[in-house]
């Protein structure tokens, strides 16, 4: 596979390596060096060469004046030099027969015609040499499972099964920070920049076949070849869920049109139509992108038919409203289910024998336990939302453990938690998520998450 050198290089040259505070090169070198330890621990030794003709040493490591001075083959060269020098170092990379290149440097097509001309020269050179390359004007590439962080992101994210492919590098930085300390993580993070070389479609096709990737999350503002993207996305969505957040949707750029169809088929509408037709899940915020990525990352798909168990009437009603809004069926508990609950003698006499099942505010964990196990055993219930509001007697940690056990017992029926609150619920939420039960602090977010699991 032609992208192997990019995602799991054994030898890397950093061109423009520096330890100057506040520079892109410094972040890049730090990230690559820290990843070296991770990769060594994983048994994949990685050699990193620092190239900079103006500095003898970077972080105490001797540098080389040019990539041509390196002995042995280079799998990946990461370029972070000023735009006007990029062509020269690129040509050296070609001469060195470097197998893949990431151009971090900005100052190309995104800045205007002059930059576009320069970009085109770089592109021509690399294309002629048949060298795979990313960028320019990108954050870089991260592959947590191989310890590769070829980017100047502020942190190295934890590994997981979400592939994040983004047109915006800054958004990646923010998402990495948001994921810090969380139980979900990434199979790969790709900032594709100006797409002069490898483009969104190439990365989509790669993620489709990547065994480490279960969910693909995309952020984009515009497409260069919409039709090609549409076809690739359609094929990918058959294999894996693909989430998409599209920026740049305001209709100001509408051109003069003369037919009704032309006037009504605005750009953002057609984007949404294409996404839907290709089977992608379009989301409307970063929060929603991460909420849904998380649930898809941990849970299997299920059929429609969801139960809600709650210790708070209001939160249960809200959840039921959202279910109605999003077309989620709430099957009633049957006689056998109710009998099990009542025979336990643990349930409050005033509990709602319905769906949502309100087990009443003073519910201790044993009430959650009996309700969950009775409901999960019911045949037409295919998934569960457990809502918890923190009341004086509520036992969040015990409740979390009951949910985790129930999920183990019924692995084919996904459970989504909505432990609503703050400080009082936080420790329980950590336990839930450590065990891959996604929690959402708002019933609406929990309902949207479980909706994304439902396949008709």
């Amino acid at each position: 596979m032609k992208l192997n050198y990019l995602f799991n290089p054994k030898t890397i040259a950093v061109i423009g390596a520096t330890d100057k505070i506040g520079s892109v090169g410094r972040g890049l070198v730090k990230n690559l060096l820290s990843g070296k330890e991770t990769s060594a621990k994983a048994g994949a030794r990685r050699k990193i060469f620092l190239v900079n003709p103006n500095r003898k040493k970077v972080f105490g490591i001797k540098t080389l004046p040019s990539v041509l001075e390196i002995k042995g083959e280079i799998d990946l060269a990461v370029i972070a030099v000023p735009a006007q020098v990029v062509l020269k170092v690129t040509e050296q990379c070609i001469q060195k027969k470097v197998k893949s290149v990431i151009i971090i440097s900005s100052g190309f097509a995104e800045t205007g015609t002059k930059g576009a001309v320069l970009q085109d020269k770089v592109k021509q050179a690399l294309t002629r040499a048949n060298t795979a390359f990313v960028g320019p004007n990108c954050l870089g590439i991260l592959r947590p499972c191989t310890g590769l962080n070829a980017s100047f992101a502020p942190l190295t994210p934890s590994k997981g099964n979400i592939a994040l492919i983004s047109q915006s590098g800054a958004l990646i930085d923010a998402i990495i920070d948001a994921s810090n300390g969380k139980s979900w993580g990434f199979s790969a993070i790709i900032s594709y920049g100006n797409e002069a070389g490898l483009n969104l479609v190439d990365f989509l096709n790669w993620a489709k076949n990547d065994s480490k990737t279960k969910v693909i999350a995309l952020y984009l503002e515009g497409l260069k070849n919409g039709r090609q993207f549409f076809e690739a996305a359609k094929e990918t969505a058959i294999k894996k869920p693909v989430l998409i957040l599209k920026g740049g949707k305001n209709p100001n750029s509408k051109k003069a049109v003369s037919s009704h169809t032309g006037a009504l088929a605005g750009e953002s509408q057609i984007y949404s139509v294409a996404f839907k037709q290709a089977g992608l899940i379009e989301v409307s915020s970063i929060e929603e992108l991460l909420d849904i990525a998380k649930v898809l990352s941990w849970h299997a798909k299920c059929k429609n038919g969801i139960a809600i168990i709650t210790n708070g009437g209001g939160a249960g009603i809200l959840a039921a409203d959202y279910c109605y809004q999003f077309g989620i069926n709430l099957p009633k508990p049957n006689q056998a289910t109710l009998k099990k609950i009542e025979n336990s003698k643990l349930m409050h006499p005033g509990y709602s024998k319905s769906n949502p099942m309100d087990i009443v505010g003073d519910a201790l964990s044993n009430r959650y336990e009996i309700a969950i196990s009775a409901i999960m055993a019911q045949k037409d219930i295919n998934g569960l939302i457990v809502i918890q509001t923190p009341q004086t007697m509520t036992e969040p940690i015990k409740n979390a453990k009951i949910i985790i056990e129930a999920q183990k017992k019924w692995p084919q029926k996904p459970i989504v938690a909505a432990f609503i609150g703050g400080e009082l619920t936080e420790p329980a939420v950590k336990i839930l998520e450590k065990n891959h039960i996604p929690n959402y602090p708002d019933p609406r977010r929990a309902v949207i998450a479980i909706k994304s699991l439902i396949s008709n």
């Binding site: 919409g226 549409f230 009704h260 169809t261 088929a265 750009e267 057609i270 037709q277």
Partner: protein, 208 residues
């Protein structure tokens, strides 16, 4: 540029899209002859490749029931036709639900087809569905069923159930046309009138 009347007719025929019987007429005599051959009621309207919104300048007179009506209507339409230097078309009046079926070449995704109810539904409520073309039969069905006003086509209250199969056929044909005919930028089949028996294009605009 708007495609001429004869070429539009030919192109629609090539893709087997049903069109209402229509003719360019120069004199009231010709109009009367057409009406007798094809039976009243009829419609008179102006046509010029330069005029896109005919109704805005009172260029359409519908439901002309008899010869007497036709004579008075002719006087009105001839006045406008002379002032605007257009031709006059006569066509058979068809009753049913007004529908718009359209297509365009999107700058990002290429050919796209559209389906909606005509009149205020499309203009004010923007109740319209889209798909990238070419579409298949299942997608054509989805497009018709996903508009809000879908109930109207299925015999709401005392309205007549519309022949949805014929509408699907037009959608599929138009999807093929926009995919194959690279020179076309936009198409409006507006209105298409659909009733129990079938569906027919009353007016078509093809923009190159």
């Amino acid at each position: 540029m708007l495609l001429g009347l004869e070429e539009t007719k030919k192109l629609l025929a090539k893709y087997k899209i049903p069109q209402v019987k229509a003719k360019i007429v120069k004199t009231v005599k010709e109009a009367i002859l057409f009406s007798k051959q094809n039976e009243f009621p009829v419609v008179l309207k102006i046509f010029s490749p330069k005029i896109i919104h005919k109704t805005d300048i009172w260029g359409v007179i519908i439901d002309i029931k008899n010869e007497k009506d036709l004579l008075t209507s002719w006087v009105k339409i001839e006045k406008i036709a002379k002032a605007k230097k257009t031709e006059i078309i006569i066509q058979k009046m068809i009753f049913g639900e007004q529908i718009i079926i359209g297509a365009k070449r999107d700058s990002v995704f290429g050919p796209v087809v559209a389906f909606g109810l005509g009149g205020i539904f499309v203009e004010i409520l923007k109740d319209i569905s889209f798909r990238l073309a070419p579409i298949n039969k299942k997608e054509a069905k989805e497009m018709i069923s996903e508009i809000q006003g879908n109930k109207i086509l299925k015999g709401y209250r005392n309205r007549e159930l519309v022949n949805l199969l014929k509408l699907e056929e037009i959608l599929l044909s138009l999807s093929l046309m926009i995919s194959r005919e690279q020179r076309i930028k936009e198409i409006d089949l507006n209105p298409v009138i659909a009733n129990k028996k079938g569906a027919m294009v009353i007016d078509a605009k093809i923009i190159l």
